[in-house]
């Protein structure tokens, strides 16, 4: 059992217009479990979200942004190997390029 610690750096430094959660997908049941993060910061523009103690498994970090021009970088502490998308390297970047009003992504990793 260990906590998952997520670091989020918004481009404009504030905490409006973005959300990040940890999720776990149960393939057999085709159900999604959402794990809340307790937030602190910002410290040097970086927000820290910490989960409760969680058992070893594959987890996802879900990040979503609203507002034109919004961009966030997300790193899971200790940079675990990204399982999906294969070959991806932290940080996960989620941004709006002006042609969409919302954007989101989820990366999965072993914990």
């Amino acid at each position: 059992m260990a906590r998952i610690v997520v670091k989020v750096t918004p481009k404009n430094g504030n905490d409006i217009g973005w959300d990040v959660y940890c999720v776990r997908w149960k393939t057999d049941e085709k159900s999604l479990i959402i794990h809340k993060l307790a937030w602190s910061g910002p410290n040097d523009g970086e927000y820290t979200g910490t989960s409760a103690d969680l058992p070893q498994d594959v987890y996802g970090v879900f990040a979503a942004v609203n507002l034109t021009g919004k961009k966030i970088s997300v790193i899971v502490e200790d940079r675990p190997l990204v399982l999906q998308p294969g070959g991806a390297i932290w940080p996960m970047k989620v941004e709006l390029d002006g042609t969409t009003t919302q954007a989101a992504d989820t990366w999965y990793f072993s914990h």
């Binding site: 999604l32 969409t100 990366w107």
Partner: protein
């Protein structure tokens, strides 16, 4: 000045404008900014420099929040609401400062402008939609598309997914972008109230004596707007109402002394009287939409804006259409149609470097 063919260069855009109506006085105009959305609740200090043939100005603003989600609220999926403020100044820095955009009936554009705004944002965060039947159906379709394209058993094995993910769908099934966004997102709102005041010196000449006169009447306006962003994440509806009371410079004419001896000295071209104050109450509606190509690369954007001055009965519309060919090219061509009832002025403009945006 009437031009059959005009080329305007700016830091932001290059336009080619051709008259369609013989009586039209065409001034190349930039497609409308996402007005109001520029007052999105961000905090901090910003500076801007905007130079074009029609509008050359510098600006500075400071903004912050009255209220925003607490860390506890951030931990829980649900609706987020924030209330922000913004103070701004815009100063003309050259070129013409008659910023009236006839097609959108923007009346308060002359001189130095001070403004203050209160903005709100309300959106919903719902990661649970990742596990919705609609989204999982798209994941399964994307995995099947991946397997269909796989050329080896190893590649087919790599098409399994660890969990639902937007990038997985976009990678293997880019044509399902809109369906994915509708399955994943909720619509959200922003809006605000804004008050502005403009300051400018107006000069005119008295007929008969050619005495020079000037005055500094203040223009002011109040605006309220709301924008709804549907769950497809590629469109926005906006409604706005603006009351403005602003001085309007008289057109320049040739004015002469009572007795003309030397025409070059006894006549001048100038405004013949003080500016007149004009009131307007404009209702403006806008639908902005981006149509992504099914390849997932590039698309077409459009923004239809209609404006009606309920006091004068003037109305106008404009429809810029933007083409995005790829994310890397600097060439962003487009075309803008515009009409203003005030001068029965219908224009078609071509532009080659202005990007679409919400």
């Amino acid at each position: 000045m009437r031009r059959n063919f005009a080329l305007a260069t700016s830091l932001a855009a290059v336009f080619l404008t051709m008259p369609v109506c013989a009586s039209a006085q065409n001034t190349p105009t930039q497609p409308p900014a996402a007005s109001g959305r520029g007052d999105d609740p961000l905090s901090g200090i910003s500076f801007s420099l905007d130079v074009s043939e029609e509008e050359s100005k510098s600006g500075a603003s400071i903004s912050g929040f009255f209220a925003k989600p607490t860390p506890e609220e951030r931990s829980n999926p649900g609706r987020r609401t924030s209330l922000g403020w913004k103070l701004a100044i815009d100063v003309p820095i050259g070129g013409t400062d008659d910023l009236l955009d006839r097609a959108t009936l923007d009346k308060l554009g002359q001189g130095t402008k001070l403004s203050g705004a209160i903005t709100f944002l309300s959106y919903k965060s719902d990661p649970g939609k990742l596990g919705s039947p609609e989204f999982i159906a798209l994941m399964d379709r994307a995995a099947q598309a991946c397997r269909d394209k796989a050329e080896s058993e190893q590649e087919r094995t790599g098409c399994a997914y660890y969990g639902p993910s937007p990038s997985f769908v976009l990678k293997h099934l880019p044509s399902a972008q809109l369906a994915m966004q509708r399955a994943l997102f909720s619509g959200y709102w922003s809006g605000g109230l804004k008050g502005s005041a403009s300051f400018k010196r107006y000069d005119w000449v008295s007929a008969g004596t050619l005495a020079k006169n000037s005055s500094k009447p203040t223009g002011y306006s109040a605006t309220a707007w709301a924008v709804y962003y549907p769950s497809d994440a590629v469109s926005a509806w906006k409604i706005e109402t603006e009351y403005a009371s602003a001085p309007e410079q008289m057109d320049e004419v040739i004015i002469c002394k009572t007795v003309v001896v030397t025409p070059n000295l006894d006549c001048v071209k100038a405004a013949p009287s003080a500016p007149t104050r004009k009131d307007s109450l404009v209702v403006r509606g806008e639908y902005r939409r981006y149509f992504p190509f099914s390849s997932g690369k590039g698309g077409i954007g459009a923004a239809l804006t209609g404006s009606l001055d309920t006091l004068s009965g003037d109305y106008g519309f404009e429809l810029p259409v933007y083409f995005t060919l790829s994310q890397t090219t600097d060439v962003l061509p487009g075309i803008k149609l515009g009409y203003s009832s005030k001068k029965d002025d219908f224009t078609v403009s071509l532009f080659i470097k202005t990007s679409f945006g919400f």
